[in-house]
């Protein structure tokens, strides 16, 4: 009987331990959820010779419109965030610090889409790695289904621009760095692109958009950055 009691007591202790572990688990899960919801993009003292320092913090769903004269350093700013140009300073997304992860993984989270799109294969479809959600976004951008079969050489400038955006979006990045994403588009198509971008914002994606169109900034911006002479400043309202 005494042995049985001892066994029961041991059982109780194990059960109690289990409870403690479960509670810790719950707390960890909750922390994880908050972390996902507050994946802030923090840019701290980002610079390279002739450019910066840039400081900026954006929250999920923010759209920062970057404006300024040509050659002011808007493109370099976006390229530095994506780590495509050598740079110094710290950039982090939530608890992901850029220097702690391989550049390839960072760029899948924080994706730069250049003003002039680049193509490395003959057919359009070969440029797409992911297909999840491809059709919905493609339709939203007014691109026909057959376009995936077309040779790149057949595409118009506007189609290239939208496809370059599309191939970045389907990889589901958390931050999109868009360099003049609608420069070659008519007003109607521009509107379609902006609607798609707004849907991404609702999902918590952070946008940085270089734009020369003041109306676009009025429609899209939750934050603004004015770049001049390689430096960024928040414009006075």
């Amino acid at each position: 009987m005494a042995a049985c009691d001892r066994a029961m007591a041991a059982c109780d202790i194990v059960m109690a331990a289990c409870d403690i572990v479960m509670a810790a688990c719950d707390r960890a899960m909750a922390a994880c959820d908050t972390a996902m919801a507050t994946l802030q993009l923090k840019i701290d003292n980002l610079r390279r010779p002739g450019f910066g320092p840039f400081n900026l913090t954006l929250s999920p769903g923010d759209c920062c419109v970057v404006s300024g004269p040509s050659g002011a350093g808007k493109t370099v700013f976006l390229r530095m965030i994506a780590d495509l140009d050598p740079n110094e300073g710290r950039v982090s997304l939530g608890h992901h610090r850029r220097e702690d992860m391989p550049a390839t993984a960072w760029r899948q989270l924080v994706t730069y889409v250049a003003a002039e799109s680049g193509w490395w294969a003959d057919a359009v479809g070969e440029h797409f790695s992911a297909t999840d959600g491809l059709d919905a976004s493609r339709t939203a951008l007014k691109l026909p289904a057959e376009i995936m079969e077309w040779p790149v050489a057949r595409l118009s400038t506007g189609e290239r621009q939208r496809l370059a955006l599309l191939r970045a979006i389907v990889q589901k990045p958390r931050v999109l760095l868009l360099d003049e994403p609608t420069s070659a588009l008519d007003p109607d198509t521009t509107c379609r692109v902006e609607q798609l971008l707004k849907r991404l914002q609702d999902d918590g994606v952070i946008l940085l958009i270089v734009s020369h169109q003041p109306e676009q900034a009025d429609r899209m911006a939750t934050r603004r950055l004015e770049v001049a002479g390689g430096r960024g400043a928040v414009p006075a309202v």
């Binding site: 994506a82 760029r107 680049g118 790695s129 970045a168």
Partner: protein, 270 residues
């Protein structure tokens, strides 16, 4: 061997052909006569000097002098590769990136041939080592310079395509892959063609020389086969090493395309 000795009148008669070319260039105003004359004179001077050097070298049979000669040849090849590039790497790598793989592959293949096939005594006998290095280095050099030139111009031209892939999170070797493969093919085609055409369309220079100098054709053929194997092996080895090093240098550990490590302005190829 009983080669028919040539005297200087024979050479003078052959030189008439070059003069003929110069006259043609004048007649059609091609503007090539100066280059033609300079390269012909340069060839005569270079070869005459080399003849004298080799004669002295062969008489001495010294490992030090043999090594020195080989090093000078490799240095000259490195310089030549750099001068054939439209856009070369900045700094000492303009020479080093080609010269390193070339020296490595040439040394390896030459030592292999000396140790296993030809086996002169002593093994460093310059009569064997120097001509072997010469013929291997020449072919390796053409492969390496074709590769480097093709690769760096393709990468600068298709910067947008490569950076588009890098921006999407592709690693550097995948992003450079198509350009590496294309340039590799272009660099190896000459040696493939040389093997495919040997004997049927062309009689290789070395074999022709040996036959003219009185060697049995079947023996000359065996030597030629050996040499072509050495050339193919050496060229492949050097080009692959160059491919790897140049891909590493034109990108960095953060998978960025570093065109700033190439010369600013495309130079006009000499």
């Amino acid at each position: 061997m009983n080669a028919a000795p040539l005297d200087y009148t024979d050479l003078a008669i052959a030189a008439v052909l070059v003069v003929l070319n110069v006259i043609m260039s004048r007649a059609f105003s091609l503007g090539l006569e100066k280059q033609m004359a300079i390269s012909a004179v340069r060839m005569v001077v270079q070869l005459s000097l080399v003849g004298l050097v080799l004669k002295a070298l062969f008489a001495a049979v010294s490992p030090g002098f043999t090594l020195l000669t080989v090093l000078v040849m490799m240095g000259a090849a490195g310089y030549e590769v750099a001068s054939r590039q439209d856009r070369r790497f900045t700094g000492w790598l303009a020479y080093g990136l080609g010269a390193g793989p070339m020296a490595f592959a040439t040394a390896l293949v030459t030592l292999l041939a000396l140790a296993t096939h030809i086996r002169p005594d002593p093994w460093y006998d310059p009569r064997y080592a120097v001509p072997l290095v010469g013929i291997i280095l020449g072919n390796v050099m053409s492969g390496v310079s074709l590769y480097l030139n093709g690769f760096t111009s393709a990468v600068s031209r298709d910067k947008a395509a490569i950076e588009a892939r890098l921006a999407l999170g592709t690693d550097r070797f995948t992003a450079l892959g198509p350009f590496m493969r294309r340039s590799l093919r272009a660099a190896l085609i000459p040696i493939f063609n040389q093997m495919a055409a040997a004997g049927l369309i062309t009689l290789p220079g070395m074999m022709t020389g040996q036959i003219l100098a009185g060697m049995e054709p079947t023996e000359a053929v065996k030597y030629q086969i050996l040499i072509l194997f050495l050339l193919a092996g050496g060229t492949g080895l050097a080009v692959v090493a160059t491919l790897y090093l140049s891909a590493l240098r034109i990108t960095d550990a953060r998978h960025r395309l570093r065109l700033d490590r190439l010369d600013e302005r495309p130079r006009k190829a000499a």
